[in-house]
Symmetry: C2
Subunit: 191 residues, 2 copies
């Protein structure tokens, strides 16, 4: 009982901190967010933020992973073409929003090339890879021809991400064209 109340309070604090950090990120950009500012805006002691996240980089990384996962869940429409279309267009929509683009930049900027942080990052990343593989497994079980998980990263996600980074954010028409091309390549390979 006391554990569950602690869990509820803990979740509320986490959400208040995420909202404060998210607002500061949009107002000031990546370099303008500090732990004391987040603590003040969230009405939480800075010491408890340091205890929970260690530093502002870890806090922002945790925030970005949570928000991007929440806003682009992998769909299950009954066909791979439908799944990729809904998901690809959803990612394009997020990348065009100031929030989505800001969270994505956080992930990239805080991406460790290697070392101790890599495990934490890989956790989020490999969870997403696992979801993509599950989507492909469902399609395979229905007897559909499927691309590899890496094909989806290389030729659907990568162009959407890189266009965001070069300041030419993708739209849903572009996302759909990427999906069509990916599926046409799979069909051609199977022929």
């Amino acid at each position: 009982m006391s554990t569950s109340r602690t869990g509820g309070r803990s979740a509320r604090v986490r959400e208040a901190v995420f909202e404060a950090a998210s607002a500061l990120l949009l107002e000031r950009g990546l370099g303008g967010v500090s732990m004391p500012d987040v603590a003040q805006r969230a009405g939480v002691a800075a010491t408890s933020l340091y205890r929970r996240w260690g530093g502002v980089t870890e806090l922002l990384m945790d925030l970005a992973v949570e928000r991007l996962e929440r806003e682009s869940p992998l769909p299950d429409t009954g066909s791979l073409a439908g799944d990729l279309s809904v998901w690809g267009r959803g990612v394009a929509r997020i990348m065009r929003s100031p929030e989505g683009s800001a969270f994505f930049r956080v992930l990239v900027a805080t991406a460790p090339a290697s070392g101790s942080d890599a495990a934490a990052r890989s956790g989020a990343l490999y969870r997403r890879f696992g979801e993509i593989e599950a989507m492909l497994d469902r399609a395979r079980a229905r007897g559909e021809a499927v691309p590899t998980g890496w094909d989806i990263i290389d030729h659907l996600l990568a162009p959407l991400y890189v266009r965001t980074l070069v300041g030419a954010p993708p739209d849903e028409v572009f996302a759909q064209a990427l999906v069509d091309r990916l599926l046409a390549d799979v069909a051609a390979r199977d022929r």
Copy 2:
């Protein structure tokens, strides 16, 4: 005469500053490079660095653009397949090196979504776009079938970049496979 000596000295100072910043970047990562540290290691007054670059972000961006351009010049081999192969494999090689990967992360992390910095960034970016278009123009003049410049960014550079960012740096075999697929798509479209 005095102008040329000033130019030579200016270029030498610039190179010393770039070497100092580059070494600090590799030792400490993006968050660990400050103007006073760069100045000290380069043996230059910090005030002159602030005068020339404004801030450490601008200095690192200038460094990253210069190094990445110097290390992956666009080739002119006499065929588009040859040009893309040499260039794509060269980019993969750079992305596997600690320096190349660090410079690339600097570019991404300092990428402004919009605003006053965007012009400076666009300068480097659009210069590169221009070089890609020149490569395609040469191929067109030889009567070859060519993809668009954006096709090259979406399906050659984007996968190479995103694999670097997710900690699975591309190798030359992968780069060559991307080139082959891009050219096969162009050939199929032309048929």
